[in-house]
Amino acid sequence: MTGGTRGCAPAAGLIPAVGPSTASPTGEGACRRCLAGAMLRHSLAGVLDCCARDPARLIDLLDLQDDELISAIGGRRRQELRLLHRRLLRQAPPAAWRGALCRHDRRFPRALGGRGGPSVLALSCEPARLQRLTAGPVVAVAGSRRCSDYGAEVTRALARGLAAAGITVAAGLGDRLSHAAHEGVLQAGGASIAVAARGLGRAGPAAARGLLAGVRERGCVVCELPADAPARRWQAPAAQRTLIGLCSVLVVAEAQESGPDALAVRLARSQGCPLGAVPGRVGSPLSRWPHALLRDGARLVEGAADVLEMLHLAPLDERAPGAGADADCGGCGEQLDARLRGVLDEVSAGSGAPEEISCAGARDALLALSELELLGLVVRGSGGRYRRKL
């Protein structure tokens, strides 16, 4: 979630007389605060690109509030960025953001309205179409950028079957596996959602232009960037986050644990999204991880029927926004005792250093912090300070 809007009450922070759920006079359905947050991230693209080497950290950063983000990565430019942010809040949205939706618009996808995910989305179609596409279950397909012919063929067949069954398929844009998914959907006459990592006004690779036109015509292309933005490195993990936020089930076909594909699975797991994996050829390095996921409990997916069965087993209401991360204990399912609760409250309040914990002795504070870290509730950051995990 682009945090600039997290604390934004529906009526506050919006352009007066526009309101969160109605389009502005210029036709945009995004409030000024959300747009300022998105534009701020766009102007921080260089730093975010650098952070994208550690995708998990990047996702943590993107979840921060605007002012927290400036503090975290602004460096020497902090003051300048704060001024810029104030200016962005005041100025009229640029034309490149025309047609964008913010999370305060009722047409914004409901699945993205909880914790995590973008606060502004630029759409290639009318918001009503995206609303219609995301009204039912959405199946995301993810995998290696360098998939084999086998991976592309299986994905194409899977997407074709799902589209024929009336299920919306979502995938990235710009890699072979995603293209195979969109092709399959188009072959069945269905509509897919493509999550792009570059501005909608930018032409993609020449080879995929016909495909993109098809997706635009029947489905929807969404993006977190203004229309004229080039592809940025930080957008790849951010697009995966949007993709996982939109989907009801994630299917992995041909992926490598060490590659960027791992992020989608990690995000899906953290959000409690059911996971399916397509078995691959034994001996292929691209099959190792899907097989490991299958061993770890992912559903075996041989065709569209398996996914439909998964959707039946995992009704949508189980995936209410934020269901994967229990606000109290990060989904660990345990109740914290008073000692850990006290320390966690202090860390949440900003006492991140072990010696700043006042509710426990020095030794007990260290033990409590380590236990909280093992529970995944706090992380140790710069200068040995602990902070609440987002």
Binding site: V47, C50, C51, R53, S71, I73, G75, R76, R77, R78, G352, A353, P354, E355, E356, A362, R363, D364, L366, L367, A368, L369, S370, E371, E373, L374, G376, R380, G381, S382, G383, G384, R385
Partner: protein
Amino acid sequence: MLARAHAFTNDGLHARHVTVEVDVRPGLPSFAIVGLADAAIRESRERVRAAILNSGFEFPPRRITANLAPADLPKAGPGLDLALACALLAATGQISQEGLAGHALLGELALDGTVRSAAGTLGVAQAASRAGLHTLAVAPPRAHEAALVDGLRVAPVSCLRSATRVLGGGEPDRMPLRGAQAAQAPRRDEPDLRDVRGQHHAVRALLIAAAGHHNLLLSGPPGTGKTMLALRLPSILPALSSAEAVEVTRIHSYGGSRVEGLAGARPFRAPHHSITAAGLIGGARTGAIGEAVLAHNGVLFLDELSEFARSTLQALRQPLEEGRVAIARARHSAVYPARFMLVAATNPCPCGHAGSERCTCSEMELARQRRRLSGPLLDRIDLVAHMREPGSTGADGEPLMSSASAREQVLAARERQSARLTGEPSRLNGQLASAPLRRRLGADARAEQMVRRALEAGLLSARGAHRVMRVARTIADLDGSERVRESDVGAALALRPETAL
């Protein structure tokens, strides 16, 4: 005529016996030295000639050949000057040849005949005693160092004339007075932990590091007392054992330091961050030893760790892993002991205020800093102590403990380790290999489960888990606990170096 004198040359930390043979016969005047002599020895021809003439002896206009046996051993340093001159005088009949027997001669000659000190006197004295020689003639400043070896008569000789008198059966010069360095009692102005106000967390980490011989990283903003704390580490470490003291003294004697008695305090070496890899581990020239070797049995303190060249820090991997430095060069190779405790201090980021609002570093700079410090060296550091700015943690508060009480705790913890690790190659937790660590850990079920959970959660690597167990064992030893408890592992986890920067 032929004459033989006994001398020694340094080969690594060992002194090797060299027989200096001088042959004088009629022919065109010349002075040749053979036997793998280095440049310093080849130049000694001029020093010996001038010293002999200026001491009132005669330098014969004959064909002079000096051989340094064994011929296949490379000889280095100017310490053979005195033996060369005395053998030459005996070969020309100016002193008696019988006098040379049983005497070892060590010293560099000045042009006026004065005898100057040579490095490695203690090692030479030990070797002379082992070789069955009864007297060692050295320059007076080195006489006390040589006198540390029992069963060897030390003859201080200030000039070539004094040396010939000793060889002729006369009295040597007087032993010089001991300097202030010889006093064994600790100095009153030695830094004390009482001076450190607040920073209790870091002081505790220092205590744990000292008790278990763990490598420690001090991280914090500038001016928070990282260097101040590190300088107080020697004051809480146990004194050197007698074997360690001899070893330390010999290394420092070889390094060229003036030694007047057995080393009492543990070495504390703090090289500047511009040091090169050769300066740190040695090998810049034949026989040169580095700071890591000079810190043997003591502390190597690397202030501003992130400013050290990466190649320099990489060179520390072998000594940290094996406790020795093996130097192999084209013309010489040597192995030196280098078992030291590494203490490093660094700012958490280039501006020093990482994690606080005051930090002005860009993400690129932070990433660069992390890359600089992470990797093999950080992998060998057992615990990290984070220092805080005054005010945030009561740095203006009370000192946690004095050096005396900290030292008592360290001694008690080391005794417990020593008793528990009887029969193991190392008696300190920080130096324990993984197999004996598992055998002798004595952790209770909850503690083991906590380490397992940390491994499963990806917080620790396998090596990191061993490190945490070592530190937890030391914390339990400091508390006098037989078993490693969950709280010990919790504290060790909070002090682990991973992701701490």
